[in-house]
Symmetry: C2
Subunit: 517 residues, 2 copies
């Protein structure tokens, strides 16, 4: 058995059975090993950002790592921006990055680069496996690290000769990675929070990623019912389980002034796997820290704790086990009609969201009413860009759809963002994934128009304007999607959008709707 | 004057007057400074790979750096793979990478990452400017480093507060970067080569990037005429000036067996800004080093020397000043007719190549006859992918067209490669650049079919096959180009291709021709 086969066996033995891939020459033995391995699903992306973004989406929906297969330094580099998002989403992931054969590296052939250094800022764990014999245990170590709480990014660099050489029979061929346990519950922190909450005038609990799924939200809901605490989450939480029947949690607004106002009332802020809220960017003469200076900030649990256990512990310490958590009712917004406008988009999407939809939101400025108007929609999951790297949504949707083939994935996309990784459309078509992309086309980087003003540039001339507008030429997203095999249509009224969205949701496979604002 | 304006002034004062950009919030002051600066041309790319690839193409054609404007770590990460190509092309470049305000970094907001570490493997010089006062001199240092021979990649990280704060008037506002001189000519090396060449049975001179332009080729041609040396260049040389009237130089073949056979006859190999040739990848049981073990390998000049000066010195040492260099005659290949086939593509392109065309070649397996059949075509420049990072061609063409608005740029592209950075089409349309893309669509990663066999996998099953084929769904490049405003057509015979190419070359602005093989 060669190293590539041993790698594949170790992945399979540890239930890593999906691989998003864009392979090259140095990964050909890995590709050949695919055919020898029953049960490994391999999904091709035409660009590596699609590959890593898909693994992020897969991890968000399953809590378990997929593998990626990337081609040396530049192939990995193309995937780094979505690795950044995945890292911020706390998504577990096992990257396999092919490299030159060990004895070829010192020759500095054209494709040679320092892969370890480039991987490090976007990975928790980086290792170059030195030879075929080391592949099984290094692969297991990569998986183990990916599984450590909160989810972590492992990057295993696999030299070509480590893939093609035989593994000596004395090496363990498919070792178990094990399941690293979370840090033990911090009882003192639980007691402190339980003591502080009832005394606070206006407490808030900020739930980080991992605490916004149904089970921990249930516990947080009891705490809120017993103490009057508000349940908040960071602006960019990887996944929120929400809609009818779920405990609602309010996202801290993105604009720093709104966020500061939103948080101003609180005298106690409890962090549950979250950091104290700071503004996304700094702005001249405005504070970066968003919470009131007079508030007390305490940590119930770190991200590497089991957040559900911590919240359950808090429920017990408050004797709130019998409290009734407030949950969202099912109240579908009235479907708007007539002219398309940003204000009405939220109600329209909210009215049509199917049961158990997975929403991947990258609607930026077009989406400002979406979150509010979907709170009482049918139960669903809501995913957002966690690291601020643009273009994550369509790749992320690929992974979510692979993870959850029985659910509809709805991408709320903006035109500027869509152009970062449009290649995801091709993978959606090839795999016939149930993804409906609602693409809001305002033909500008509208958020940057706002940000110009925020940073103190009130007016700008034609050269600056040209860098913020993408209307020349206008992009025809119907043609773009069609070119990659995704059926598409364009709409210019609310009614057309409703009809197109209902139609797309009723059909299997991918579709794109260009919403011409 | 704030830091952003000082940066802009320093760029302009040092003749860096083209900026390829994909800005975000942290770069808004830089964008605002554009309008205050006369003469700076700013070109928007919808994806950062387009931005860095364009700066590479610009540098290859001008020998001088353009600036790029990139948005924090992930924005830069999206441009790294084309930075890798640029680094291998020895293209000078000044990257300006926005970062959070200095006082915001420790808060670890979502978009925070270690930009310096990520930039380092793909840059020769990395610096974070600490404050506005440091901007002028740091910018000058970045330009100076980019100009150092051979061309180098400078990455200047600009925190938002260094951009928006005022520069104290005591700071120099637009310092001169100066022009670093090449390493002094190594006279002993020149004498040694002059002594060895006439004694060798079968000498070869391998010309690296910078030695394959018209002037150094002229000198190399005299050396060849006087000594019988063969003139060779590496497989992936950034730019070769060739065609009728130019001294021909043979590229070392990519397949390692062919390359070894090609080099086998030589007992002396002279390196002129080149390294000893090694195979692009390692393959099991085959040597990585391509030159015969019995050959003597000597270095005339390093890449940081003035290669023209070194070759002129060699001409003098050989007293070959009156030798007549062999140049290519003008002999246009006969234009093939009838069925499309890879074998005939070279003759067709060669027959139609206009005077002073800039060819950007990423035709991979479809292009195997292109180089040979264009050797006696009208004079032109030939650019190839230097670092093996796929998808460089259309971005590189953007920069070449901006650099040389009076010349036609012809991209010889393959379908798999085109899908890495298709966003370049939009910039070509917006800027109405004279770029004709001839896109060879075989609907597979054909090179990987070959490479599977080369690494010892003779047959592969359906899962491996699915990772190497891109025919499901087939990509409609006519629709794809049209979606971004580039007029396009598809051809299925040699005659249709000839007609379409003649038509596209006769019109200003971009065009794409999908060649359905």
């Amino acid at each position: 058995m060669n190293g590539a086969n041993a790698l594949m066996q170790t992945l399979m033995a540890n239930d890593v059975d999906v691989c998003f891939a864009n392979p090259g020459t140095s990964e050909m033995h890995f590709v050949a090993a695919l055919d020898a391995t029953e049960g490994m699903r391999c999904v091709l992306g035409l660009f590596e950002g699609v590959v890593t973004g898909a693994a992020d989406g897969y991890a968000r929906m399953t809590g378990t790592p997929a593998a990626t297969l990337l081609h040396l330094g530049p192939g990995m580099a193309n995937g780094l921006s979505n690795l950044h998002n995945a890292l911020r989403a706390q998504s577990p992931m096992v990257n396999v990055i092919g490299d030159h054969a060990t004895y070829h590296r010192h020759l500095d052939a054209p494709l040679t680069s320092d892969i370890e250094t480039a991987a490090r800022p976007f990975s928790h764990w980086v290792r170059t496996t030195p030879d075929a014999d080391s592949v099984p245990l290094d692969t297991a170590a990569a998986i183990r690290e990916a599984r450590r709480r909160p989810g972590r990014i492992s990057s295993l660099i696999l030299p070509a000769d480590a893939a093609w050489n035989e593994v000596r029979s004395s090496s363990v061929q498919a070792p178990q990675a094990g399941d690293p346990q979370p840090a033990p519950l911090d009882g003192e922190a639980v007691d402190a929070v339980a003591a502080l909450l009832p005394r606070a005038e206006s407490p808030a609990i900020i739930l980080g990623p991992g605490a916004t799924l149904e089970q921990p939200l249930g516990a947080a809901g009891k705490v809120a019912a017993a103490t009057g605490a508000k349940l908040l989450t960071t602006t960019m939480t990887s996944r929120i389980t929400r809609g009818a029947g779920r405990v609602p949690v309010a996202r801290i607004p993105y604009p720093p002034d709104q966020a500061a106002t939103f948080l101003a009332e609180h005298d106690l802020i409890v962090l549950v796997g979250a950091k104290g809220p700071v503004s996304f960017f700094a702005y001249p003469d405005r504070p970066s820290v968003l919470w009131p200076r007079t508030a007390q900030v305490v940590e119930l649990a770190r991200p590497d704790h089991d957040l559900t256990e911590a919240l359950d512990g808090l429920v017990d310490a408050l004797a709130a086990g019998d409290a009734t958590a407030r949950t969202s009712p099912l109240e579908l917004p009235q479907r708007p009609s007539g002219e398309l406008n940003v204000a009405g988009l939220g109600a329209l999407i909210g009215s049509l969201l199917p049961e158990q939809a997975i929403v991947v939101d990258e609607s930026i400025t077009s989406g400002r009413t979406l979150v509010a108007e979907t709170e009482t929609a049918r139960p669903h999951d809501w995913l957002v860009g966690t690291g601020g790297s643009i273009g994550y949504a369509m790749p992320c949707a690929i992974g979510a759809a692979v993870a959850c083939p029985d659910r509809k994935v709805i991408v709320l996309e903006s035109d500027g963002s869509a152009m970062y990784q449009p290649q995801a459309l091709w993978t959606a078509a090839r795999e016939q994934l149930d993804i409906v992309i609602v693409l809001f086309a305002n033909r500008k980087y509208k958020i940057l128009h706002n940000e110009m003003r925020n940073v103190g540039v009130p007016a700008f001339g034609p050269k600056a304007q040209a860098l913020l507008d993408i209307d020349n030429p206008a992009i025809d997203f119907v043609a773009l999607a069609g070119s990659m095999g995704v059926p598409a249509s364009a709409v210019t009224t609310m009614d057309e959008l409703a009809t197109a969205l209902e139609g797309a949701l009723a059909e299997p496979g991918p579709a794109l709707i260009e919403v011409r604002l």
